[in-house]
């Protein structure tokens, strides 16, 4: 049926991509919307209500099989009846899936896709992504179809549901057993606030000397009614904070009213995550730090002296 196929681990992510698909169709791109699912995957009834024409239903994953083991079954189906576009939610698994299927189809894959547009006059699918850690924006158009895109969750907003609207179900065959087997799963405990929803984000960088010192940043966040986040070294190398608090190219994108980076140097990969912030502030002892060129208000000074003083000054200007 050509059209658009959507692949996401979670219902919410699939609904976002369904909306992206509906937008393309409204702009004139032809074809139906099909969404992949499996027992434990996105809920078929919600996919129908969210606008899917068809649900491509995979059998439950085999014992000790990673979810990626589905890829060959999807690839086989895509070979038989190629869609024009396949949209993947760019989670770790989604990116793996997308690259495997793109490799199998020898198709183009626009990873980290930030925008999609159908130009009906020229019949062009315009895709946008970042380059050089976010320093550049690249707009491309596929030269061949099918084409794939991996889209970061949160890029599109999901639309309203039509309760009772149903999608056709098409069953896909089970994939062959994967050569990769799962030995153990250690689910992550969800901790902390949702930083992407916070009005104020206080971001700690490597300028902090030890994990206990983050209390200073936390105090500032509490005072401003905000959430604490961090740069990649703090979550990935030092493991002082969980990875879902990491802001930037390989982490989350935030759009708060106020972002304050403390002991953050301001490398482009990090700045990419705060482009949508209304006001950017920074505290850094190095006046040459690149963050100052990317900040509205910058305080040059040692964070260990600035933070207590700043908390004091804020308390004085905040009416009790």
């Amino acid at each position: 049926m050509a059209g658009i196929w959507i692949c996401a681990e979670q219902t919410g992510q699939a609904l976002e991509l369904l909306q992206a698909g509906k937008n393309l169709r409204e702009a004139g791109m032809a074809g139906g919307l099909a969404v992949l699912s499996w027992p434990g995957g996105p809920r078929p009834e919600d996919l129908g209500a969210g606008g899917a024409d068809e649900v491509l239903l995979l059998p439950p994953p085999g014992d000790g099989q990673p979810l990626e083991a589905f890829a060959p079954a999807v690839l086989e189906e895509a070979r038989k009846d190629p869609p024009d576009l396949m949209l993947f939610a760019a989670t770790a698994r989604g990116k793996d899936w997308a690259a495997r299927i793109a490799g199998g189809l020898d198709a183009g894959l626009c990873s980290g896709c930030t925008a999609l547009r159908w130009d009906s006059a020229s019949g062009t699918l315009e895709m946008e992504r970042l380059l050089y850690g976010g320093a550049a924006v690249l707009r491309i158009a596929p030269l061949s179809f099918p084409v794939l895109a991996a889209v970061l969750p949160g890029t599109f907003r999901s639309g309203p549901l039509t309760p009772g609207r149903e999608a056709r179900i098409r069953n896909l065959p089970a994939p062959p057993p994967s050569p990769v087997t799962v030995l153990e799963r250690r689910p992550k405990e969800r901790q902390g606030q949702d930083v992407t929803a916070a009005r104020v984000v206080v971001c700690a960088g490597r300028g902090f000397e030890k994990p206990g010192d983050l209390a200073l940043a936390r105090e500032l966040a509490d005072l401003l009614g905000g959430a604490l986040a961090c740069t990649r070294p703090l979550s990935e190398e030092l493991h002082w904070l969980p990875e879902d608090l990491c802001i930037g190219l390989s982490g989350i994108q935030v759009k708060p009213e106020l972002y304050i980076g403390i002991g953050v140097s301001g490398q482009v990969q990090h700045l990419t995550g705060i482009r949508g912030a209304k006001l950017v502030c920074a505290v850094n002892r190095d006046e040459q730090a690149p963050i100052f060129a990317a900040a509205d208000l910058g305080i040059v000074g040692d964070l260990y002296a600035v933070l207590p003083g700043l908390v004091q000054a804020l308390k004085e200007t905040t009416p009790a």
Binding site: A102, G103, E126, L143, A313, E316
Partner: protein, 255 residues
């Protein structure tokens, strides 16, 4: 003896990219570097060799100027390098890079046990070359690995996913793509640099490879990201911090 293949890319150092007043990308004063996470791939390969024996082959696809990168890679523990070079390789897409890597590894390395890639390259950050390479070679792939071990005939790895850690095993040969916290890359010393220049390098020209891969995309535009901020500075004395707090208040941030 096991053969470890580390794939690395020689990339523009993004810290030197500027934006012209016309909003164009200014690459005139950039330097180059080994892509950040590929240093982790080279390091992990060197460590595996130190513990399991065998050898490390560093493989790259790049522009002729990348010879400096080849030497850099050899100073990080690799025993030899294979370098596919052509001026046109600077603008390859992930599909094209993976095709060339697959051909080079198949024809020039021959037998290998583990191929190590970074999670993503610093310039394109496509996060797909390693996974596509595995698909092309028809071997298992374990992506987003934070820890790995070799056991008899297989690789056991911890993948970090949004919902937690998944410990998986795959038979060799296999491809792994590595997260940066898997190790701390070494800083090559003078001795490493000296011995690097004595290590064998096989350079392969475009004409020695099969038909070049067709691009899958055309470029509509490439522009510098816009960053417009006020850039107002404050000191750290009490008066300045009060002035800063006042500025936040004035902007309606403080409630």
């Amino acid at each position: 003896m096991p053969v470890f293949v580390a794939c690395f890319k020689w990339v523009v150092d993004e810290a030197y990219i500027r934006r012209t007043s016309a909003g164009e990308l200014d690459l005139s004063s950039v330097g180059y570097k080994i892509s950040d996470y590929d240093r982790n791939a080279l390091e992990e390969a060197a460590r595996l060799k130190e513990s399991a024996g065998g050898s490390v082959v560093a493989v790259t696809v790049g522009i002729p100027e990348a010879t400096k990168g080849v030497k850099d890679a050899l100073s990080r523990g690799a025993d030899q390098a294979i370098y596919a070079a052509d001026p046109s390789f600077g603008t390859l897409e992930a599909s094209g890079t993976a095709t060339i890597l697959a051909e080079v590894i198949r024809t020039r390395v021959g037998t290998y046990d583990l191929i190590l890639c970074g999670e993503g390259s610093s310039d394109l950050y496509d996060q797909q070359v390693g996974i596509r390479l595995a698909a092309l070679l028809g071997i298992p792939c374990i992506s987003f690995v934070q820890k790995l071990d070799l056991e008899a005939g297989r690789v056991v790895a911890e993948r970090r996913l949004e919902d937690g850690i998944e410990r998986v095993a795959a038979t060799l040969p296999a491809v792994v793509t590595l997260l940066p916290d898997i190790n701390v890359p070494r800083i090559p010393g003078v001795k490493d640099t000296l011995s690097a220049s004595r290590k064998p390098v096989v350079t392969i020209g475009r004409e020695e490879l099969g038909l070049p891969a067709e691009p899958r995309f055309r470029i509509l535009s490439l522009s510098a990201s816009r960053l417009e901020r006020q850039c107002e500075r404050f000191g750290s004395d009490e008066a300045d911090l009060r002035r800063f707090a006042g500025a936040l208040r004035q902007k309606g941030i403080l409630r």
